[in-house]
């Protein structure tokens, strides 16, 4: 189909508002943050160019190292857990039964509630004296003394992973469910005729055919986990002792304290990590999708 340059130009004009929006409110701010990270920019002090000063300071900053370590550990703990749970839930949702409608309705609710609100609810769930978590564990006889969920660094870490899994497992499950429904049913029928057991059908048919979708879910969730902010802000406040401060929260704390240069340097590091992963996603995703 041949088209005149004028026609093509009109076509690109449809993209213009979107491109302008992204440029003005995403790309320019990213550039601004990058420039800001090269400045010494502290409230009430004269602003000056600082070169790599902020980045050099990052290298010897134990707080930054702690935030980086926590962010990586949190991602490494929560993402695999969410993928496993999400896969289990997706299998539940795909199973034909009378309860399927009710289950599908339930699955979205934790996802739809603002993380700040569910974070507040979990803060009460983990309350030392009368929270639901300690009540249940005590009632089931798992522990004889209440667990100090939010007061110890291990407890706070586990609390965050569990609360995050609660909120984001639905998202994973729904993506995987779409992948499951794309698997042709005759494969299973054939396998049943060949008397392949459930486990065999799962490992030989379901998992291999789901691998692309699993990879997409993995990368989406990894990037979300790396940039997590609101859950820590609300549930643990980054504590105790800064042990659950994510990189986003660490950067934000510097903005709050008026040190925009240093906070920007922290954000740039996080940005580069996310960018690297999204480039990886685009490489993988290219095989997965047929563009319209």
């Amino acid at each position: 189909m041949d088209r005149s340059p004028g026609e093509l130009l009109r076509g690109y004009a449809f993209l213009l508002p979107l491109a302008l929006f992204l440029a003005a409110f995403v790309l320019v701010p990213i550039g601004g943050t990058f420039v800001g990270s090269l400045m010494r920019d502290v409230t009430f002090l004269p602003e000056r160019f600082a070169g790599a000063e902020n980045y050099r300071a990052l290298l010897s900053d134990p707080g930054f190292a702690q935030a980086l370590r926590f962010t990586v550990l949190f991602t490494a703990a929560s993402v695999p857990l969410e993928l496993l749970l999400g896969l289990a839930v997706a299998l539940l949702l795909a199973h034909p039964s009378r309860a399927r409608g009710a289950l599908r309705a339930c699955v979205l609710i934790p996802w739809a509630i603002p993380a700040a609100v569910s974070g507040k609810v979990f803060q009460l769930v983990y309350n030392y004296n009368y929270g639901l978590a300690n009540y249940l564990m005590n009632a089931m006889g798992v522990v004889d003394r209440p667990v100090n969920w939010l007061g110890t660094s291990t407890g706070a870490f586990l609390s965050l992973v569990l609360a995050d899994a609660w909120k984001t497992t639905p998202f994973v499950a729904i993506i995987l469910l779409a992948g499951l429904s794309g698997i042709p049913g005759h494969l299973y029928l054939q396998a049943q005729i060949d008397r392949a057991g459930y486990l065999r059908r799962f490992t030989r048919i379901t998992l291999p055919l789901l691998s692309t979708v699993l990879l997409i879910a993995l990368l989406f969730r990894t990037i979300d986990a790396l940039r997590v902010f609101d859950l820590m802000f609300v549930l643990t406040g980054g504590g105790p002792g800064g042990s659950t401060t994510s990189l986003s929260l660490y950067g934000y704390n510097y903005f709050l304290g008026g040190d925009f240069g240093y906070g920007s340097a922290v954000s740039v590091v996080l940005f580069l990590i996310a960018l690297g992963l999204s480039l990886l996603y685009l490489r993988v995703g290219r095989f997965a999708r047929e563009l319209p």
């Binding site: 979205l108 934790p110 700040a116 507040k120 993506i175 779409a178 940005f271």
Partner: protein, 276 residues
């Protein structure tokens, strides 16, 4: 025991466990909100039902809960409408006009959606401070729109690609202009997709936290998530009943929206993430 029976038992146990895990915290939130004291689990008196916390949340002007809720609804509604208005023409062009470079454009837009918000917010804070926009609706609506545009574009492109091209052709033959085709043919056919996108955009904007935290200062523009997160009692002790009542009142509309439009949301999510 046959394998079918084993799977059935596993299924029922899994389904019940999952429902308890998903709904337990929500039920706990609602019960705490309706209980006279937050420690009702460990008290002999149990749950002493009261509506006092709900009345306090809705009826105490100094808590600003209703202001925050109004801000949230206005901001999310505007961002959602703007998102669709900006993304729909772009999605139409990508899906229907076969522009050279469209795949590259889509991938770049997707990459943009993966940037961490914290790496934008300090610059936005400074610029909006200079423009005197801090604590206004537009300080949230504009960044939210930009933030949710990539997902909207991906979802809408998928929907527009489904409308048969023959429909456009027929309309063009009948003397419709290009924009006329979009307005009279493509948009009506893709209306469910547009609705899904608007709904998802609304929920995402409603749930956003970091921009709202940094770009608002008080009840004139502060949204519900930030309002609830910053809720503190007078003496350091968190007034759990009131906080949970606010959380419940926020959750109810979100849950209703989700239950009513479950199918649409699932469709939108899977199109955005998997099928593109």
């Amino acid at each position: 025991m046959s394998e079918d029976r084993q799977i059935r038992i596993l299924y029922v146990a899994g389904a019940l466990g999952f429902m308890a895990f998903s709904l337990g915290p929500i039920l706990y939130m609602a019960l705490t909100a309706a209980s006279r004291r937050p420690d009702f689990l460990s008290r002999a008196s149990g749950l002493e039902f009261t509506l006092a916390h709900f009345i306090a949340v809705a009826g105490t002007p100094s808590l600003h809960f209703l202001d925050n809720l109004r801000n949230s609804i206005v901001v999310s509604g505007c961002a959602s409408a703007l998102c669709v208005a900006v993304a729909a023409p772009a999605a139409y062009a990508i899906a229907r006009l076969r522009l050279p470079g469209r795949a590259f454009f889509l991938l770049c837009v997707l990459a943009v959606s993966m940037f961490p918000p914290v790496s934008l917010v300090s610059y936005l804070f400074k610029v909006m401070g200079a423009l005197d926009w801090i604590n206004t609706y537009r300080a949230l609506v504009l960044p939210y729109t930009a933030w949710i545009l990539p997902l909207s574009l991906w979802i809408l492109t998928g929907y527009f690609a489904q409308v048969p091209v023959d429909l456009d052709r027929a309309a063009l033959v009948d003397g419709c202009s290009g924009l006329g085709v979009l307005r009279k043919v493509v948009i009506p056919v893709a209306a469910p997709g547009i609705f899904s996108t608007a709904l998802l955009a609304f929920i995402l904007a409603f749930n956003e936290f970091l921009f709202a935290l940094m770009l608002t200062t008080d009840h004139a523009a502060r949204t519900v998530p930030v309002g609830i997160a910053l809720f503190e009692g007078l003496h350091g002790e968190i007034p759990w009943g009131v906080v949970m009542a606010a959380a419940t009142l926020t959750t109810v509309p979100v849950v209703l929206l989700t239950l009513v439009f479950q199918r649409r949301i699932v469709q939108g999510l899977t199109r955005g993430a998997v099928k593109g």
